[in-house]
């Protein structure tokens, strides 16, 4: 019979972390799972060399060692049904049941196609951080960071800390927009302090506004890039290009559970009430999946969800802080809007679907993801359209569709569990 927990929390980033902390404090028996080997999520990913940020480490230690917590690392949800989840880790598949479910599945990067984006050496900006923190060799490497928003500064700081030669940071937004953003920062003292710290860490690294990387070039791996900016087009020789155009909520699991969504720009996010409850009873969502809002939103919303799910009282002050944190997200969105020029970078030969190597040319004439997929295999590969489907939606071509289990490619034995799920559930109840 499947194990049952009062509360199951999916995701060990800031949202899942405070959700676990709050639920444990209320006396709940909690299962906490994440696809990664260590807690922290993306923003507090454990660095092999430097560990966790201090603030994260303290809470991670107290939550992880709690006697009523079961920590399930390297575990992904393959399928979901009312009150139960089918999980797969590196060894086995198992089914667990929950009284309440808290989702903190975070976000992934918005990765947009341009000529040369498939070359080894081109990654996301958050990807550069993730790789570096897990020991990816960067010492002496020539790194260019490009895209939009404050994440570029964080990526540059991580790269520099790991010994990279950061040649420059290229921000697509205009100088006026970035300055207007900076003038509002005093409303969020924590953010202002973080920005000041990053600026001091990045002293001496060129930062250029209104600049867009238009292509990556190289024979078998990245050798150089072209940047279109206020001084015309320049070519830069480099070993690593890290592109960060923003983040996209991971809503696949919540969608599979039937949680109502709304669109933020071209991408779905999960609709929640003031207690972080979704449209499905006993399912809560917190953090980036409710709309890109950053670490502080996740931290506060996780706590609200943890309290609400375990029968605790959510006080008004906590909700006021959460609304204030959410306003910062709006400020970010308004000032770092993507230049439509970026949506035209891919040419007819640029591969859109990197799993099945489908070029943009092959997608002409289709107006929905399903017919394009049936005819061209676009979105049929291992990433299940997470990269190309999201890019196509952002480019305004067509929305992602066709979500169904398994949520991630699964082993045959796990799929066997999936097929027999209705029988198992029947005998359990």
């Amino acid at each position: 019979m499947a194990e049952r927990y009062d509360i199951v929390i999916v995701g060990a980033g800031p949202a899942g972390l405070t959700a676990a902390e709050a639920a444990l404090a209320q006396g709940a028996r909690v299962a906490w799972l994440d696809a990664q080997a260590a807690a922290g999520g993306q923003v507090w990913r454990k660095d092999v060399q430097y560990g966790w940020p201090r603030r994260a480490q303290r809470v991670i230690a107290s939550v992880s060692n709690h006697p009523r917590l079961t920590w399930m690392p390297q575990t992904q949800v393959i399928a979901a049904e009312p009150n139960s989840l089918l999980l797969q880790n590196t060894r086995e598949a198992r089914r667990i049941r929950y009284g309440a479910l808290i989702l903190g599945t975070g976000a992934r990067e918005l990765l947009l196609p341009m000529p040369g984006w498939t070359l080894p050496g081109v990654t996301g900006a958050g990807a550069l951080q993730a790789l570096a923190k897990q020991g990816w060799p960067l010492a002496g490497r020539r790194v260019v960071i490009a895209g939009s928003g404050p994440l570029l500064l964080a990526a540059a700081a991580t790269a520099k800390r790991h010994g990279a030669r950061v040649l420059g940071i290229y921000e697509q937004a205009a100088e006026t927009a970035v300055h207007a953003f900076a003038r509002q920062l005093w409303h969020w003292p924590g953010k202002a302090a973080q920005a000041a710290l990053l600026r001091s860490q990045l002293a001496g690294i060129p930062y250029q506004y209104g600049s867009i990387v238009t292509r990556a070039l190289g024979e078998h791996a990245l050798e150089r890039i072209e940047v279109d900016g206020p001084h015309g087009v320049q070519r830069i020789e480099c070993d690593h290009l890290a592109l960060g155009y923003g983040l996209v909520p991971n809503v696949e699991l919540a969608q599979m559970l039937g949680c109502a969504i709304r669109l933020e720009g071209a991408h779905p996010c999960i609709e929640v009430n003031a207690a972080q409850g979704t449209s499905v009873p006993n399912i809560y969502a917190a953090g980036e999946m409710c709309g890109i809002g950053g670490r502080d939103c996740a931290w506060l919303e996780g706590r609200i969800a943890g309290l609400a799910a375990s029968g605790g009282a959510v006080d008004a002050a906590l909700q006021r802080q959460q609304r204030h944190a959410r306003r910062f997200a709006t400020l970010l969105r308004d000032h770092f809007k993507l230049d439509p020029y970026i949506y035209d970078l891919a040419d007819a030969d640029t591969l859109i679907c990197r799993c099945e190597d489908v070029p943009l040319r092959a997608l002409a004439g289709y107006d929905d993801a399903r017919s394009a997929k049936l005819a061209t295999r676009c979105g049929m590969g291992a990433c299940q359209g997470r990269v190309c489907g999201t890019a196509l939606a952002e480019l305004g071509l067509f929305a992602r569709s066709g979500l169904r289990p398994p949520l991630f490619p699964a082993r045959l034995a796990t799929l066997g569990e999936l097929a027999s799920s209705s029988d198992t559930e029947g005998s359990n109840s």
């Binding site: 080997a37 092999v48 390297q74 992934r108 990765l111 897990q134 020991g135 990269v387």
Partner: protein
Amino acid sequence: MTQVRIHIDGQALDVPAGISVAAAIAQAQRPFRRSVSGQARAPFCGMGVCFECRVQIDGVAQQRACMLPVREGMQVVTDG
């Protein structure tokens, strides 16, 4: 830092414990995978979303190298 010994495409490599298989492959300057049309690919998203870093680990194909820490005695086979 503690070292572990792994094999990448048959070649022994001592790497710091706790690093990802992806980082170990990069340190060994080995390729990752070839796409369906034969292009060289390497880690792209770094967080288990894009599946560009897939390699064979201990006989199991299609493993995401960015998601797995190295383990003593691990056998990694790339598409190179």
